[in-house]
């Protein structure tokens, strides 16, 4: 087939430039944003490689435009020149030629009835869904001529495009198709070549990104360099995938398609031709799109909304809506552009193209900033290299204190280096000197990870310490009032602590201490010389004092036996306690007094509302009358300033508080959580804790909290180049100065978001550098600095910003901003702020293209943000922001809010759009390998329609599992999994491994899922179809695409957004 060998296609002679070419070729330079449509295409064929290498040149498909023209109806063409880019046009065309759109929507399933074509309901969408990538259209045009013989039209319609078109139509078009190959097809294919080559050649010689950029830059002054540096491999991958597509096996996910577009950076390329040709055809009503669109790469994606006037149909095909079924898709192209950047797991920008002017910033209505997860877990083999400069001292810029990184340049034959952030020339210390080679690179580049890797860790010399590195320190503050005893919390906590004693980081230096409290405070002397711990009770709550100066906090390895004795006896000591009071505030103060010498981690286990002493809270509850008024937010913020003050003091003394809140009643999580928020801690919330049910969850999460690698007494700063500045920070930390985050403890499960603003009205640099530096004490007592460096291009056009946007980072920032807003405004307003931003952003985007393209009734959005509307909807429906009074318990709402504020991007996305998989088939089938298993488990759209009453489904949001048993599920399966309980009330049934293959497989499957994301333990909830209200609570309320409780479903949501975009557009 034609497409099988793209290279072959390149060979054909260049098409004669179209008449317009000469005059229009300059256009791309003038246009500020990459253009699709004939214009671009016309220009495309004009040969100079430099031009083609520029983003605009977006070679391929475009070329076809002019080429086709002669064959087609030139007149028509010119009249509808900009006709919306590719996918888009689908929607329009489908009115005329339904078959066409049908094809694209369901290439493999729809058999097209011959002439008239099936009535495709489907609004055509560019990337309809992973299974049916619209790009499939691309190859066909190219191949069609060659392929034609193989596909006699009606028989194999699903192969899409050209051939599939019903005979009558094809008859018309066929000739033209046939004609095209030499001219149109070839030319279109030809065009990309220069592009490819140039990028290849540029990249080939040096993988030094800047080199590439510069050359590209010269080639095309008006454009931003980065765009040009397209990693060729990706491109070819795209090619391949197209081919595969064409062969009828759709690629698993949308990624391949993403890549071409993003890689090109100059999307205009293909799409223009696709639609173009279609537009052409339209008037004649004849055949398929002739445009040999090479990639259908387009500026934007689109969705038809509200199609035919007068019809009741919403005009949206739910199947065609984009869904992030593959989870978090990180923008690949950017990483390829700057290979020396820190990995995206550590730092993600909301858009990798930094706007160059204030006016551009003001047109970018989405958050502009970054999400940083400095200690993200790296897969084996990709750990951050550790660099020890020893006596030399760490190489830093004299002026701006930037750490040496891959983007610094060495000059003066290696004796000086130029800071990439402030451009100051620094001397290279003699010990660090290395000669430069001919290309200006240091000879020892391979031996110096700090000069070749975006993420490195420096061992800090003593200058970086204000005191000797602290030992790891764990202090437990345990509520032993009656409810804690009854729920079994103490038992589980004591057991877990004991089991973790061996695994606490910090080896022999680890310190440990305990306080328990009810209406009095109990201190424990666990000196190593004792055989039994001594308990001291202090009942003076108003004037708290510590009964012993030391010995309350001891070295674990020395006092191991005493500590174990204490932990063992804790549950029994208090098993008869009937004290209902809780002197939480005084206990907190006592713990603070003990810990303030060293700092460390304070683990608080709080079971009831603090009722005695300072910091007592009242049952302010969830007053329904408050909702909807201006006072609504007050229930979501801490009532007593004591907790804020305490949190500030904790941070000052390097204490990080992790709060475990258990309660079946109101616990004022809003107040307790603030302790975690400002101390870099974490809030765990276990509503109605019962050890029988939630034991495993608490055990796992506490164990992870105790044993995960933790960085102590840390501070983090993010530096960036001149002209930009980070202005606001969002997450669990406290600001110690305008840009210094104090983090008493950090670990891999915490991420911090920050927003960026421009200081100058105009940025003159071409690249902005960011450097995150985290100075911390590792568990083994070494002071270290982890440095992540990142470069991002500065762009002058909005389209490029959209193209380089990162949905994950945007969603993370948006949700944090909304949650913060919900702390001072009504929920409604917090939600609306998201909607407003989304609408503004999409409207701005629409305005970019509305002039040139006939966007009509289509909603257009950048490919990079195709999931954004859905995620925004998911934020609307997320626990912290959902509904009003009755929808979520206040405590739960606050707890989820605190959790999301610290969540790394990928986990947040999973929480917002959980995974739903059908598992019954796999349980029945023969045993398979795990990895195969994963492949088979295809995520389903989160809508009730995905649930088949004969199936067994697993719903996983990273925090819990819900297993949904269909009504008509074979009793065999249920019995195997649940034993004899399978007919009873599922709320009492717990899943445990039973002695049969199926049960073992299920447990194994759950285990596999849990291992994917060990930061939280997903407790299993069993739900039977129709079993209300459990089904509604666990399952139906979480199907974000459905209309639940007065909140929009996905289709309505899209319509609403679309309507708002069009209003005052």
């Amino acid at each position: 087939m034609g497409t099988e060998d793209p290279n072959r296609a390149y060979i054909p002679s260049r098409p004669a430039p179209s008449p317009f070419a000469a005059t229009q070729s300059i256009r791309p330079n003038l246009l500020t944003r990459p253009m699709a449509g004939p214009d671009a295409s016309v220009f495309r064929p004009t040969p100079p490689p430099q031009q083609t290498s520029t983003p605009f040149s977006s070679s391929g498909p475009v070329g076809s435009g002019p080429a086709i023209r002669p064959n087609m109806h030139p007149a028509l063409l010119t009249t509808t020149p900009f006709s919306s880019a590719g996918p888009v046009s689908g929607s329009e065309t489908h009115e005329f030629r339904p078959s066409y759109s049908a094809r694209s929507i369901a290439p493999s399933t729809n058999v097209l009835p011959p002439p008239s074509g099936p009535p495709t309901s489907g609004p055509f969408q560019r990337f309809p869904s992973p299974q049916f990538p619209s790009t499939t259209q691309v190859p066909p045009p190219q191949t069609s001529p060659a392929v034609q013989p193989f596909f006699s039209p009606p028989t194999r319609p699903h192969i899409s495009t050209g051939p599939t078109v019903p005979p009558p139509q094809t008859i018309n078009t066929m000739p033209s198709c046939m004609n095209i190959p030499n001219s149109a097809v070839d030319s279109s294919i030809f065009a990309p070549r220069p592009n490819l080559q140039s990028s290849f050649s540029q990249r080939g010689p040096s993988n030094f990104a800047r080199g590439t950029m510069q050359s590209a830059y010269q080639a095309y002054p008006g454009k931003q360099p980065p765009v040009v540096t397209q990693p060729p491999p990706v491109k070819s991958a795209a090619f391949v995938s197209h081919q595969e597509n064409y062969h009828a096996s759709p690629p698993p996910g949308p990624t391949p398609y993403l890549s071409p577009q993003s890689v090109y950076g100059a999307p205009p390329v293909a799409p223009s031709t696709g639609p173009f040709s279609r537009e052409q055809m339209r008037p004649t009503g004849s055949g398929p799109p002739l445009g040999p669109a090479q990639g259908l790469i387009e500026d934007f994606s689109s969705l038809t909304v509200g199609s035919v006037p007068g019809s009741f149909d919403s005009g949206i095909d739910p199947k065609a809506l984009p869904r992030p079924l593959d989870g978090d898709v990180k923008p690949k192209s950017f990483a390829d552009m700057y290979p020396m950047n820190s990995d995206s797991r550590y730092i993600r920008l909301t858009t990798s193209a930094i706007p160059n002017s204030q006016s551009l910033v003001s047109r970018w209505h989405l958050p502009l900033g970054a999400v940083v997860c400095p200690l993200a877990e790296a897969p084996v083999g990709e750990e951050v290299p550790v660099v020890n400069f020893a006596s030399m001292g760490i190489i830093r810029c004299r002026r701006c204190r930037t750490y040496v990184n891959p983007y610094v340049t060495f000059t003066d034959s290696g004796r000086k280096w130029k800071c990439n952030i402030c451009a100051l020339l620094n001397d290279v210390p003699p010990e660090y000197y290395a000669p430069l080679d001919a290309t200006g690179r240091r000879n020892d580049l391979d031996q110096r990870p700090e000069l070749s890797k975006g993420s490195v860790e420096f061992v800090a010399p003593p200058e970086y310490m204000v005191r000797p590195p602290m030992p790891t320190l764990y202090f437990f503050l345990i509520d032993v009032s009656v409810s804690a005893v009854r729920s079994g919390m103490i038992q589980v906590v004591a057991e877990t602590i004991k089991s973790c004693l061996d695994r606490l980081p910090g080896s022999s230096r680890t310190q440990i201490g305990f306080i328990t409290y009810d209406s009095t405070i109990h201190f424990y002397n666990i000196k190593s010389s004792l055989t039994q711990p001594q308990m001291m009770v202090v009942s003076d709550l108003d004037d708290m004092f510590v009964p012993l100066p030391d010995d309350l906090l001891v070295n674990l390895s020395e006092s191991r036996s005493v500590v174990e004795a204490l932990v063992d006896s804790l549950p029994s000591m208090f098993q008869d306690n009937v004290n209902v009071e809780s002197a939480f505030g005084p206990a907190l103060k006592a713990a603070f007094m003990i810990m303030s010498q060293l700092g460390g981690k304070l683990l608080v286990f709080q079971n009831t509302l603090p009722s005695l002493g300072v910091g007592r809270l009242r049952l302010r509850g969830d007053d329904i009358r408050v909702y909807g008024t201006d006072k609504e937010h007050t229930s979501r913020i801490p009532e007593d300033p004591f907790y804020k003050q305490m949190a500030a003091d904790f941070t000052k003394y390097q204490i990080s508080a992790n709060v475990y809140a258990f309660s079946d009643k109101y616990n004022d999580v809003a107040s307790l959580g603030i302790l975690a928020k400002y101390t870099g801690g974490q809030l765990y919330y276990y509503p109605s804790f019962q050890s029988a049910i939630q034991k495993e969850k608490l055990r796992h999460e506490l164990a992870r909290d105790l044993t995960r690698e933790t960085a102590w007494e840390a501070v983090m700063r993010i530096r960036c180049g001149k002209g930009v500045r980070f202005t606001s920070y969002h997450g669990n930390f406290m600001l110690r100065s305008t840009d210094l985050l104090a983090l008493p403890a950090v670990d891999c499960d915490k991420a911090y978001a920050m927003q960026l603003s421009l200081e100058d009205t105009l940025l003159t640099t071409q690249t902005v550098y960011f450097q995150v530096a985290l100075l911390y004490t590792s568990s083994n007592g070494e002071r270290r600095i982890r440095v992540h460096t990142m470069a991002a291009p500065v762009v002058a056009e909005l389209g490029e910003m959209y193209r380089q946007a990162d949905t994950g980072a945007i969603v993370s920032l948006l949700s944090r901003l909304a949650i913060e807003k919900s702390l001072s405004y009504k929920l409604e307003e917090a939600r609306n702020s998201i909607l407003l931003r989304l609408v503004k952003a999409l409207r701005e985007y629409r305005n970019l293209y509305a002039v040139q393209h006939r966007v009509g009734n289509r909603m257009i959005y950048p490919e990079s943000l195709k999931f954004l509307p859905l995620y925004a909807l998911a934020i609307f429906k997320s626990t912290p922001l959902r509904g009003g009074y009755g929808d979520v318990q206040l405590d739960e709402r606050c707890a989820a809010g605190y959790t999301i504020m610290a969540l790394p991007v990928n986990k947040l996305l999973k929480l917002l759009y959980p995974t739903l998989v059908r598992i019954d088939e796999h349980l029945v089938k023969a045993l398979q390998k795990t990895d195969e298993f994963k492949n088979i488990c295809k995520a389903l759209p989160l809508t009730a329609e995905s649930l088949d009453s004969r199936g067994l489904y697993l719903f996983d949001d990273g925090f819990r599992f819900v297993i949904w048993f269909g009504k008509m599920l074979s009793p065999n399966i249920a019995m195997n999994l649940l034993g004899d309980d399978f007919t009873t009330d599922y709320s009492r049934v717990s899943l445990s491994e039973r002695d049969n293959e199926m049960s073992r497989k299920l447990m194994h499957l759950l285990q596999t899922f849990r291992e994917c994301d060990p930061s939280y333990y997903q407790l299993c909830h069993l739900v039977r179809q129709g079993e209300q209200p459990r089904e509604g609570f666990f399952m139906l309320a979480n199907l974000v695409e459905d209309q639940v409780g007065g909140m929009n479903g996905y289709v309505d949501w899209i319509q609403q957004i679309h309507r708002q975009i069009q209003q005052n557009a």
């Binding site: 804020k644 500030a648 110690r736 100065s737």
Partner: protein
Amino acid sequence: MAWDPIFWLIFFVINIILIALNIYQIVCLSDLEADYLNPYDSSSRINSVVVPEMLVQGVLCALFLVTGNFYMFILTLPNACYNAKLFMKQQHLIDVTEVFRFLDAEKKYRLIKLAFYLILFVVVLIRLVFTVVHHAIDHDGGIHEFGMFD
């Protein structure tokens, strides 16, 4: 009245105290902004003078009323009310945890207050001078009816 110059002298001194307290707070905030001071110290210093400042301002306001300077009383009343409102809502202190977020607003608030105190300062100063002069002239049996703010 023989007491007038003394009253105005007291007002004058109180006004200077207010200005000094305010400038102190502004300096603390700027130091914080410039990273010369950490937020803990900065906010504890500021918070330590917030309530005294409010009290002094309230006293001044009350004194104006007691001494029968109604125009001056009305001039300072809004400020006193605003302070009382802040105090009631417990929003008068700086929140150390979020100090950077509200840094600009707090600074602006204090600058406006400073400007107000300066205006008050000018007025009080003029009145003080007039009263003293008036008093002196009065003693010498000179011109009456000199005041402009009676």
